[in-house]
Symmetry: C2
Subunit: 157 residues, 2 copies
């Protein structure tokens, strides 16, 4: 099952985000900081979190997966662009279809808000995630003749 | 020279964005639609446009390049993330350093707003753009051991 998060879920979301970064070797600002940020961003409507469990009767326990979605306006259409900022399933619960269930919920959320496009960035070597994205219809190729891959770059300030 | 755009620049920005998409074989909603969107997004502060000219005395003419930047909040830091959505120099003005000048202005804008990160997506075969981004310090590699490339995916709804 998947449901939207509320502010009451903020500390559990923070724990998952923290674990996520530690698993992938990224620095994390820590659970306390994340709880504060997640609470504020849910409260003002600027981020959307979807939480997933493999079984309905486990919904009292911490979520086993989450998706984090940002919507922003675009010059190209009246509807917004959805950016899937995080998609994560806890290690012990992988292989049960939670990623797919979260993705379906993300696409429903995006369509419900009239989004024209959903975007995401992922590592070239994350074949499980890429398989999920590609089976959902995501494309990594530039439109037009060249058919080159689209790359994501970042610069920390 | 580079300066921030105002609503009065909207129709010239729309023309450049339209030309940009036609040059790269992407569909465009047309100049009239783009003018309306750009006007609204400058007015409400949700997009930032920087305009560039090779010579100050040409500032009365249409801009020769532009950068479009979006800021969004993030769970990972108090400061926002800047997304460089468009960076474009008109064909006849390339090779004069306008791209670099626009990039410097983008980074100044992002630092001025306390951004923690600047992101962008580009085509693997766009070597001129990638050279500019990499010389400005942008990295396409996932942090940590794997050092895999980061890929950008999109799905039109």
């Amino acid at each position: 099952m998947v449901r939207p998060a509320t502010r009451d879920d903020a500390s559990q979301i923070a724990r998952i985000l923290d674990d996520f970064n530690l698993e992938f070797g990224d620095p994390s600002p820590g659970e306390r900081f994340l709880t504060s940020r997640v609470t504020a961003l849910i409260a003002d409507g600027s981020k959307h979190f979807l939480l997933a469990w493999t079984a309905i009767d486990e919904a009292g326990a911490g979520p086993e997966g989450l998706a984090q979605v940002d919507f922003r306006p675009t010059v190209w259409s009246d509807g917004p662009v959805a950016l899937l900022e995080e998609l994560y399933v806890v290690p012990g619960r992988r292989g049960h279809g939670l990623g797919r269930e979260l993705m379906d919920a993300v696409l429903d959320l995006a369509r419900g808000r009239g989004a024209a496009m959903v975007e995401l960035a992922t590592g070239e070597d994350d074949t499980a995630a890429r398989g999920l994205y590609e089976s959902a219809g995501f494309r990594n190729r530039v439109e037009g003749e060249q058919n080159a891959a689209m790359l994501y770059y970042e610069l920390e300030l």
